[in-house]
Homo-oligomer: 351 residues x 2
DNA sequence: GCTGCGCATGCAATCGATTACATTTATTTT
DNA sequence: AAAATAAATGTAATCGATTGCATGCGCAGC
């Protein structure tokens, strides 16, 4: 009898199995699959057939071990829960998985993420590259101290000091758009709810606001700039400050949409209606903006695209890593646009 | 001279380096680190010291190759962008990374994710276990056709047919809570906005609604059940249906919060105010619910916890995989609670 | 004092793919 | 036609950790 005992538990087919079926060496299989130019046409056909017959799939762990790579990138995001980031993550996912890379998402604000966890990602092993969506991380994380660190790309936020590549929105330009819109509607007393103080976005958006005010020769009053931190609660706090003001701005721009929602929500509780009593412009155009009451006028940014661009840039960096000379750090800036809804209106001529 | 030429590019230290410094074999180092009981006290101390001196970190790729595992779990989520899921993901992340497992997030609704991508995750290599947050995936994905498939745990949603373990909220109970609340406020004409039809959550929540209506002897009218799909837009469509009704319910429950927001938003555009003209109860308690205008009365579920529990269950399954006999499929149900805000009010005695 | 057992440790195979180098064969050059 | 070159493939080392098996040693039992 020729019958052999077969194991009942099927193992995944390995490159050895393919080699046996195709009647070539494992080296040839490997080459046929990853550098087709280096094997004969006919041989390649045989290998492909054998792959199909066996249902072979490359073992990424083995490949990564041999190639000394991790097969993954890690994304440092300040807060997965923030709807602003999810679209960006989707863009990253799409681009990365096309390149065969896994995406690990690390929430830098999660208590357990502090220090140890983060360092572990950064130290050699786990990731081939790092995508940072959180500009507030200290630079020391990225300034390779002694060992080889994977390449880093910033997206959306970035760190002022470092010269690392970054993909950004035109935050200053966006803020200017918001201000121009309000000015066109006849507003002259315009306030602004800031993001967290250390944050670059806060900074850039504020600069846009001040620039536009200056250009129009409108007042820049410190008591019309409210502190915040991008949260709904911060928007509500700003609303209470606004209410307490002896002289109130007739329009307010906010450094993100969530604060705009919190702001309007709190005003509503005190009987103040938007846009009747005050106009509000947000920033980001998160999903709920369209359906908030009232619909929120805001600045839209191509979020899916920025994720994709950043991932693409990082992948390019990873691929070029061994090759000399280092690519010059890219700094790509994507444009923002104004979306007009119902939270803004022309200033009544009376007031 | 004893001076040797040192490479300028420092490699990560390997287990060999540690062994050399500690003056033991690599086997001993490995054992000292992963099964401390099997080496002498003194030796272990030496190894630990050597680890510190060299800054050694285990190479997970090598370990995973040798142990034939992937070192990661994959989470199948219907839509990363949905704020409902982000908290759950955070819970999963926390638990998984404590166990040294990476978390890969796959958005099943992303066009590119269809078929190929998904299958790739499922087929042997990439993941040691799968956490499914999307009940609408076809069972065939999980019914191992021929090869060994990693363990699967459902969280939040699940697939009716399969007997796989699942961690769930008490959806029916939550819906009953919502209905009881409205009934207590004097409402007798109560409608409901459904989720997508195939979805188990839609089904369970609907069942809760009908059960509570029946218990109170209130009418169950087909024209008061509105079709939906969990999106803001679906809520808005339901609002238009509600407006077109000859006889309108005075209160509406929705199968999730986003639809509640869409519903209220659209009504507002037509001059109908909540809760003055109609009371609304949501489901989920997403972040914005508290700050919507009006604040949304809704059913809260411990989202972070469900993610954590599900991950823990999956990890237990992974660890026990080789050991006989298979654990019995767990089905854990977490309780929901009612959060009362401003979108509901007692029915005016007049109407 | 010899046998046997168990503890601590080392040796070397192994996981599955990649790739430097060697070998064979075919093709071109002079 | 011999020599040089190129193309296709095979052999075996390698990535870094884990682990089955072998070894050596000390101690208890007879």
């Amino acid at each position: 009898m020729e019958q052999e005992l077969k194991e009942t538990v099927k193992q995944s087919p390995t490159i050895q199995d393919v080699a046996r079926v195709a009647n070539v060496s494992t080296a040839t299989v490997s080459r046929a699959l990853s550098s087709p130019g280096r094997v004969a046409e006919e041989t390649r056909r045989l290998v492909i057939e054998a792959v199909q017959e066996t249902g072979y799939q490359v073992n990424l762990t083995a490949r990564n071990l041999r190639r000394k790579q991790a097969g993954a990138i890690v994304v440092l995001v300040p807060n997965i829960g923030n709807p602003f980031f999810s679209q960006i993550l989707a863009g990253i996912e799409t681009t990365a998985s096309k390149a065969g890379l896994n995406v690990l998402i690390a929430d830098t604000r999660q208590p357990h993420a502090q220090e140890g966890q983060l360092q572990e990602y950064l130290d050699n092993n786990r990731a081939d590259g790092i995508l940072v969506l959180d500009g507030s991380l200290e630079d020391r994380f990225f300034l390779a101290p002694n060992r080889t660190r994977p390449p880093v790309v910033f997206a959306c936020e970035w760190s002022e000091g470092t010269k690392l590549p970054s993909i950004r929105f035109d935050n200053e330009g966006g803020a200017v758009l918001a201000l121009e819109h309000l000015a066109t509607l006849g507003h002259t007393k315009i306030g602004h709810v800031l993001g967290p103080l250390g944050n670059v976005l806060t900074h850039e958006r504020r600069r846009g606001v001040e620039k536009a005010l200056k250009a129009r020769n409108l007042p820049i009053r410190p008591d019309w700039f409210f502190e915040g931190d991008f949260s709904l609660a911060a928007g509500a706090r700003a609303a209470r400050s606004w209410l307490a003001l002896p002289e109130r701005p007739t329009a307010v721009t906010t450094s993100n949409d969530e604060m705009a929602c919190g702001f309007m929500s709190e005003l509503h509780k005190h009987g103040v209606e938007v846009p009747r009593d005050v106009s509000v412009v947000g920033f980001d155009d998160i999903d709920i903006a369209e359906r908030f009451i009232p619909g929120l006028t805001t600045i839209r940014q191509p979020r899916f695209d920025i994720g994709g661009s950043a991932a693409a840039e990082l992948i390019a960096l990873i691929r070029s890593q061994d090759r000399s000379p280092a690519l010059p750090p890219v700094r790509q800036v994507l444009e923002a646009s104004l979306i007009v809804r119902s939270s803004t209106r022309a200033l009544a001529p009376s007031s």
